[in-house]
Symmetry: C2
Subunit: 219 residues, 2 copies
């Protein structure tokens, strides 16, 4: 069985999305700046059906990291908001088909945490969305079964990552610290008085656009 | 004239002190864990009158960084709480002489931001505490005059660093990310809708105990 991994881009002041998110601007104000480094990487572009991009000396380490993480991941878990931005019954969701288009970039099974049942949806390019209504542990079991020997990745958002972290189910975490200050928005780490696991820093990969901090979670 | 610099230890979840600070435990619960890496460094120990400590391959980069920062700094600015933990009139301060003992580790002029006037206090070992009641810009001017060609360092706390950052007066910032999750406490970066300066990542120094993220502030 593979590991449960989590990778996310965070501003230096701790935000994974800017404030005032809308359907048109789901990452909030300036939230796109968190992902500029990744948009330039050929590995990401290829997975997202956008050929091009260029690996430079400054971005090779990021591209290698991303390509290796994609290769090692056999299933993804994400929150309902990461799927569509909605939260209530699907009939009321203004974006029921989700953000991800006809050919989502995953190429594997994606388990969407929701309170509202829905039939699985097979997409082009190998992605199938499954909708899980019985909690994070059930989603993890189903994702692990789908991933086989590969890892399961948490696709976000922050609230989903926090739930898995507090349940001490995450094995490895990569926090991609982007050198910007957003001032406000969605915090990766909300305040909690729940006990949190210890971490071991296993690596820090330094590029001008982003610092990849890699941790093993000592659950 | 030197630069205005700021260096602080922050948990991965963004806290520079734990929750529930008291006079006996001024860094709050588990806050001491933020500084374990520095307590082992000979450069820090020497400045704090505690000989010993050992530079290992894993800690040499941190020790070099700390010694160079101390060498380059000619004056320090700190908040009232960093001086004594108090906030009201000095007559009511339960800790009016401050945390720093008879021989504070600075060895230069320290400007304490406060709303309550007080005579300067010359200590052993070259430190003099000055109490500044007319704001952060006045404190900076006075500190720069005292520092000469050397840098002025912000000694904290987070609120003081935030004020200087929003006033676009900080030139360089080193955030020492410690691989722990405190869950709650004092945030380095509070939410703000004020505009914040852009940053340029100038270096990341990776040790097992701490990651030193170095930024130039593009004011």
């Amino acid at each position: 069985m593979g590991k449960l991994t989590f990778s996310i881009a965070m501003s230096l002041d701790g935000f994974v999305a800017g404030p005032d998110a809308t359907l048109e601007e789901p990452l909030g104000r300036r939230g796109e700046e968190l992902h500029e480094w990744v948009l330039a990487l050929p590995g990401w572009r290829e997975a997202h059906g956008r050929p091009g991009g260029e690996v430079t000396e400054a971005t090779k380490a990021s591209d290698d990291l991303l390509v290796e993480a994609m290769r090692a991941t056999g299933a993804t878990i994400m929150g309902r908001r990461m799927f569509s931005g909605g939260s209530g019954p699907w009939a009321d969701d203004p974006n029921p088909d989700g953000w991800w288009g006809d050919t989502p970039p995953f190429g594997h099974a994606v388990f969407v945490l929701t309170n509202h049942e829905r039939q699985s949806q097979q997409m082009e390019g190998g992605t199938t969305f499954h909708f899980v209504t019985d909690g994070i542990e059930s989603a993890l079991e189903q994702a692990q079964a789908a991933a086989g020997d590969k890892n399961v990745g948490i696709g976000g958002g922050a609230d989903v990552a926090q739930q898995y972290l507090r349940a001490r189910l995450i094995d490895e975490m990569t926090i991609n610290v982007v050198p910007i200050l957003l001032g406000d928005g969605v915090r990766l780490f909300d305040r909690t008085r729940d006990g949190l696991p210890a971490l071991e820093l296993t690596g820090a990969i330094d590029t001008p656009a982003v610092t990849h901090l890699q941790y093993r979670v000592l659950n």
